[in-house]
Symmetry: C2
């Protein structure tokens, strides 16, 4: 992925990526709680077999058709195209860590024999990485836009325009009765999934996080960790997304998420933070300052430890604890950025070479210390 | 204990005590590993019933006889006398924390009804607290001398002189066949127990501490925690003492401890520390610096947490890690002193008022931070 590829990659390496992609900019509505808002559409091409039924040759053809359209319909200031079957594993992991592709797409189809060579790609809108389009994941196209803060309407507006431009060049599989047809029935209809990445350290510390999870489940929402299905909520980061797409209009899904459900969780988290700093001040100061002590002193850090401590540092900044106690002058953006840069593939990119797990723990601690100690 | 007592206390309050008693001065042979050396003699008065058989009136009489002798035979530059039945609980705990009296003496006989009023006392040699004499503990007299570092011979010489002076004024229970008679058969004979307080963080970190414990047990030595029987080895501090007193001469016990057993453990601990800083440097740096981060950042500290972190700080200073990594310029004496001052009764003495457990955790963190942050 470091050089232009004869197979069609247009040569942008992840090294050229923005150090602070859109979803970590800490801007927009309720950015104290909502890191980012994401909208994705699942689309398939008419006249092409669904991925699960397609041969490798079929998938190669699908990929080529998609590439021709995506690269020539002005979707962003610049579109970087990566053939993932030609990419090295570290670069694929880097893209997963940036939330630009799914783990499934990184691995290739079902992770079976020859999965890594399965024809598949991602197109990314640069420089802000707001747009990414996975080709030959579960569906032929998985189009995603992301915005900082609570901004589902804007993300929806953007993806809707992208969707129209692509549809002008490709024919989607569509049924007048069911809507957009997708590989998995849960996506049929609008093919839409909206999600927000929430930072909920307050609710975790007050012990109310489980109530929120149960309430979300009752409303038909999925609550996942930072890296989606099956990942734990390390760093107090939770992805909240709608589950059903059939029988509900885009507008209704959008309205429920943006104006009803998420604002209620945001208020609940803010209330928890206020309660913590008024009624349980010493306890939360202790947690925040211990985390700060760890970030500034540890010589070995696992990813989860680093994310846990960064979460508390973020809480400390947003509640004024970290400044008030003379801990440090560090900003939320730096913390957000570190949440990404402590991930294994990013860390190796920063260091400039491959590292085993033990070396990563050393490098992570050194890197974090360098950033937060300069900041303080 | 703050004013002269009509009952015979001579009015020295623990507040007047030395901030750094002898056993924490970090002086003498092998002070990097051996905090202190202690020798104690168990003695009983002829013509007085053993404590377990004595009535309260008997014990009151024993106490008075002992006091008259102890206060008038020039045992130290100054002898402070405390009637523990007249002392408040906080002062009794303070004396336990300073290792001047046993928990058993603090509680009174078997902790039963009226135990607190049981006639019992301690005489302490000031200003260095090298000498202490418990009256009406398990035996009528438990005489103890303590020295910094590995210094059993000097402690023995000192206690032998004290013993002679007391014996000049009192008749001890002595059998030509068994030697000095004591309440518990394990003390019969010399009535002597020698012990050293060891700081063994290296052996704990290399995982070899259990080998040392087993070897010590095989040699008939008892290994106990910082506060004696039943206390855990918090702060990596271990008391090592001889178990049998019958059938072995003082000289033989002393020689074994001072010239054979303890030096071997000292070498083993030093070897572990060298191994840690050469072969497992990053790991031990990580431990030490995390501990330092905790001491300088936590807002709540339990006694055990504080002692654990102070132990690692002590290791960090002695191995050069704490200075080498720019952590802090703090000396071993300050750390030794903090090991004592973070104990509950000492902490309350420092703060100047009674505190509940939660308040103590706050006060402990604040106090420690003040000391180590000034030092750095």
């Amino acid at each position: 992925m470091t050089k232009p590829k004869p197979d069609g990659s247009n040569g942008e390496g992840p090294a050229a990526f923005n150090p602070l992609p859109e979803w970590l900019r800490n801007e927009g509505e309720a950015a104290d709680v909502v890191l980012s808002s994401r909208v994705r559409l699942a689309r398939n091409l008419a006249g092409h077999l669904f991925i699960v039924k397609a041969t490798r040759k079929d998938r190669q053809r699908t990929l080529e058709v998609c590439r021709d359209t995506i690269l020539h319909c002005s979707l962003a200031p610049h579109i970087a195209w990566y053939d993932l079957h030609a990419a090295n594993p570290a670069d694929r992991t880097l893209l997963v860590e940036r939330h630009l592709i799914s783990k499934q797409l990184a691995k290739g189809r079902a992770g079976g024999p020859g999965a890594a060579e399965d024809p598949r790609a991602v197109a990314i809108g640069l420089p802000d990485e707001r747009l990414s389009i996975m080709v030959n994941e579960e569906d032929h196209l998985r189009i995603q836009t992301v915005r900082s803060g609570l901004s589902l309407a804007a993300a929806w507006k953007e993806i809707d325009a992208v969707d129209d431009r692509i549809e002008a060049g490709l024919e989607y599989a569509f049924s007048p009765r069911f809507g957009y047809l997708t590989a998995c029935p849960t996506n049929v209809g609008t093919g839409l999934r909206m999600s927000v990445m929430l930072h909920l350290p307050g609710l975790r510390l007050t012990g109310d996080i489980d109530k929120v999870k149960r309430a979300a489940a009752d409303m038909g929402l999925a609550v996942r960790g930072f890296y989606g299905e099956g990942s734990d909520a390390v760093g107090d980061l939770y992805q909240l997304s709608n589950q059903t797409t059939l029988g509900k209009s885009e507008a209704s899904i959008l309205h429920d998420m943006e104006h009803e459900i998420v604002p209620r969780i945001v208020e609940y988290e803010r209330l928890s933070r206020r309660e913590l700093i008024t009624r349980r001040r010493v306890g939360v100061e202790d947690q925040v300052m211990r985390a700060w002590g760890l970030l500034t002193h540890a010589r070995l850090l696992t990813t989860d430890e680093a994310m846990g401590a960064l979460s508390l540092a973020r809480l400390g900044i947003l509640t004024g604890i970290l400044k008030a106690t003379g801990g440090a002058a560090i900003d939320v953006r730096t913390v957000n950025q570190l949440i990404l840069l402590v991930q294994p593939a990013h860390l190796q990119r920063v260091v400039g070479r491959e590292l085993d797990q033990e070396q990563r723990r050393v490098a992570r601690a050194t890197f974090v210390r360098g950033r937060v100690c300069t900041a303080s």
